[in-house]
């Protein structure tokens, strides 16, 4: 499993920068990261993941969850998203076309 070596929120650029242990470097703009929140509050139960548009979300803090996930807290108090490393990684790779990556079964 790819594992982050370093997570750095960069306020000036409004993004979270993640260095992975295979030396991949991914940037996650706050609005993008918040939009793909995997929690059941955002996504409901079952079905495809969809993007939740939030205006100008600010990352307040980010907690490491055990050895396998991260859990951001946003300025609107939202704090239920647990992003597994695998999910975070997939978001990083698919930043330009999140829809095609996250919903591979979805017909165009």
């Amino acid at each position: 499993m790819p594992t982050p070596l370093l997570l750095t929120p960069i306020m000036e650029d409004q993004l979270l920068r993640v260095l992975w242990d295979d030396d991949t470097l991914n940037d996650y703009p706050f609005a993008y990261l918040r939009g793909w929140c995997p929690c059941a509050v955002c996504q409901g139960h079952g079905g495809e993941r969809h993007f939740i548009k939030v205006e100008n979300p600010q990352l307040v803090s980010i907690d490491m969850v055990g050895n396998y996930a991260v859990n951001p807290t946003w300025n609107d108090g939202h704090e239920t998203g647990i992003y597994t490393y695998a999910y975070l990684r997939s978001l990083g790779q698919s930043q330009d076309h999140p829809h095609s990556h996250n919903n591979p079964e979805e017909p165009d």
Binding site: P4, T8, I10, V60, I62, M64, G66
Partner: protein, 362 residues
Amino acid sequence: MGEHNTPDIHTRITERLRQIQYPGSQRDIVTLGLVGKVQVQADSVVVQIRASSIKEDVLRHLRGRITQELMTLPEVVHVHIHAFAAQSGQPHQGGQAGNQAVRERADIPGVRRILAVASGKGGVGKSTVAVNLTLALASLGHKVGLLDADIYGPSVPLMMGTDATPRAGQDKKIYPVEKYGVSLISMGFFLDDQSPVIWRGPIVMSIVRQFLRDVIWSELDYLVVDLPPGTGDIALTLAQEVPLHGGVVVTTPQDVALLDVQRGISMFKQVNVPLLGVIENMSFYECPVCHEREEVFGRGGAQKTGLKVLGAVPLVEEVRAGADAGKPVVVSAPDHPVAQEFFGIARQVVAAEEMQLPQSVH
């Protein structure tokens, strides 16, 4: 570099900082976004390192490197570095404004390593193994604690032969029960023998959290956690709440146990806990009269998991009797071959864990 064409000091500072690689990576600290504001005042440079998930020791290393690199610039006499390592603390207690804190879930103060003993299936003797493994680790000279996370069916008090009530400490903390040189906590210490635990998940999870956080564990080399069978709330809470350093899976050789043990293995994989290996319990029965071995549950099951087999514990009367009498075989008969098997398992667990060689499943 020609003297007549020296770039400005900020450019040269950045150039120096780009020479500093992040440990474990080919990338430099500027690229990683670690370097925030850089201010120059006369012969002093102030470098701001952004709040990140950086660990204390890595930060210390980088401070040294930054100072070293910047001191090579002729006009720099003083280097000041403002930085924070990742905070350790409980989640969701609010970050400071303007300072995005990256927080590690807090370790348990004084506890060096946390090992989880799991099984996909009940009745494989997981608690028996956990108890004996704990005592074997202690006999090897380690300071060990045992957390009985089987809230619904706690068996550690019986197996360890104590029903003491944990003493209350300050601030709603409790002291673990001491027996045979190890520290113990179990739901069983808080219940009558007869009263069943009829609780839903959230309450049970808060108990597990309290066992981790509100017990005064003092200094431990290992905290062994005896998980309930299966892959439910408790196991997940434990994996989320603390960084687990290793998982051990207990199984019997039979195929039906293996089926479930695979689930236990994938659970550890999903939460990224290094699997130290598998322990095969009730591996065979040796007739006490004719010493013929009988493989009651079949053979070779543990090998089929693809994990390192840490040991094979036979089905012998002494193990069962020791557990029922509250005197586990490792303490009651340390010279018995089965106790020796547990010592061997303990040594392998220590070796596997210290070498930090996670066993990969595929």
